[in-house]
Amino acid sequence: MSDPFSINGGAAVAMVGKDCIAIACDTRLGSQSLGLANNFEKVFQMGKTTFLGLTGLATDVITLREDFRLKNNLYKLREEREMEPKTLANLVSTSLYERRFGPYFVSPIVAGLGKGGQPFICGFDLIGCIDFAKDFIVSGTASDQLYGTCESLYEPNLEPEDLFETISQALLNAVDRDALSGWGAVVYVVTKEKVVRRVLRTRQD
């Protein structure tokens, strides 16, 4: 209740593996303690191997998803190439800082493979301060819980299949201890060759 970040609830997390990344989110949309929808995904594909996760106030999540879709498409038209994850990160950062004194209430995360399949993940605060990390990035109302599960379950250089298990268990157990997150989960595992999208079985309470 006490801040706009925790009206709708939701959580997202990204992890780096061996030549791969994974990004996952829950699918709950709520109004305080009332659950409204169980199909509100918070991770969006911005390029072949680039993903953007947005948690926070749902109206801003949708607004920014559309804003970044527009900016991403214009970039593709102008440059005739895809946006690198690093470029997207800087775009997100500057777009958020533009609203320094009237911010969107979101905590975005970016994950993707850069040039040559280099894994890249980062997170932001609501006014665009970038947090570059080598291991994992968390966001949303379950961020404390996610910090706990990720910090203890994560290990570097996991193969895509192992990374999937680790990120899924980190997310699932974290959202089960958060009243405002859960109600379904989606995980993307991204390698140079392919993207795998899995819908997880979760608690429904």
Binding site: M1, S2, D3, P4, F5, I7, K48, T49, E82, L96, Y97, E98, R99, R100, F101, G102, P103, Y104, F105, G123, D125, L126, I127, G128, C129, I130, D131, F132, A133, S143, D144, Y147, S152, L153, E155, L158, E161, D162, F164, E165, T166, S168, Q169, L172, V190, T191, K192, E193, K194, V195, V196, R197, R198, V199, L200, R201
Partner: protein, 265 residues
């Protein structure tokens, strides 16, 4: 659309008035220091970024480049120190290009203080600015409201008291480069141990007259995590999956068909 947008301001004030509190931005509850020595200046910082009582980033960069030989250490609201520093770095380069002179520390400081004063303290940037220019080595600091300070040694941030304790005890005039680096690193380390807002590693930047600036990223790493007692790798198939879909990542290749397009005469 130049400048900042206040589109959401009214909505957010409404939300605040309705009892939804105001969220807290990542703050670099920090220890930063600077110290002059014979023929140059050195600055140092810790690498912890916090969001409330949670560590958001264990190894962030608080040393920013304003110009090749002018660097600054930032404390306060993380986004503000980063953005204000990038803006001034750009303007400083344009200025030095148009004047055909190397940028000066006092110029950087003046630009920073005028910018910050304009925002009446709402940009939470607290910086230690240091560098070498044609007039020598300089060490200054600027606060969010625009006030500035000049001295032989400076410290800022939540760990500034711990750091200043070291500086006040061990500082002496005309130190060597090595002595100054040691002093700064030790001051930061005291902040790391004794201030909860500071932690992890020590970054150092040395600027010497007539030489390129040297950034020692993670000059000291006294906080490497010990390895866990065991691995928490899960057997594959542990997680229950409802649906699975995958698609190939194909490299977009411009395929030239060889056949030229037909055009009228």
């Amino acid at each position: 659309m130049p400048g900042l947008s206040f589109d959401n301001y009214q909505r957010n004030q409404f939300l605040a008035a309705k009892g939804f509190g105001t969220p807290r931005a990542t703050s670099t509850g920090t220890t930063i220091v600077g110290c002059k020595f014979a023929g140059g200046v050195v600055i140092a910082a810790d690498t912890r970024a916090t969001a409330g009582s949670i560590v958001a980033d264990k190894n962030c960069e608080k040393l920013h480049r304003l110009a090749p030989q002018i660097w600054c250490a930032g404390a306060g609201t993380a986004a503000d120190t980063e953005m204000v520093t990038q803006l001034i770095a750009s303007n400083l380069e344009l200025h030095s290009l148009s004047q055909n002179r190397k940028p000066r520390v006092i110029t950087a400081l003046t630009m920073l203080k005028q910018h910050l004063f304009k925002y009446q303290g709402h940009l939470g940037a607290y910086l230690i600015v240091a560098g070498v220019d044609p007039t020598g080595a300089h060490l200054m600091s600027v606060q969010a409201h625009g006030s500035t300070d000049i001295g032989h040694y400076q410290s800022l941030g939540s760990g500034s008291l711990a750091a200043m304790a070291v500086l006040e005890t061990h500082w002496k005039p005309n130190m060597t480069k090595e002595e100054a680096v040691q002093l700064c690193a030790q001051a930061i380390e005291l902040g790391i141990w004794n201030d909860l807002g500071s932690g992890s590693n020590v970054d150092v930047c040395v600027m010497e007259v007539g030489k390129d600036a040297e950034l020692y990223r993670n000059y000291k790493t006294p906080n490497v995590r010990e390895s866990k007692t065991r691995s928490y790798k899960f057997p594959r198939g542990t997680t229950a999956v409802l649906k699975e879909r995958s698609w190939q990542v194909v490299d977009e290749q411009v395929v030239a068909t060889g056949e030229p397009m037909e055009v009228d005469a």
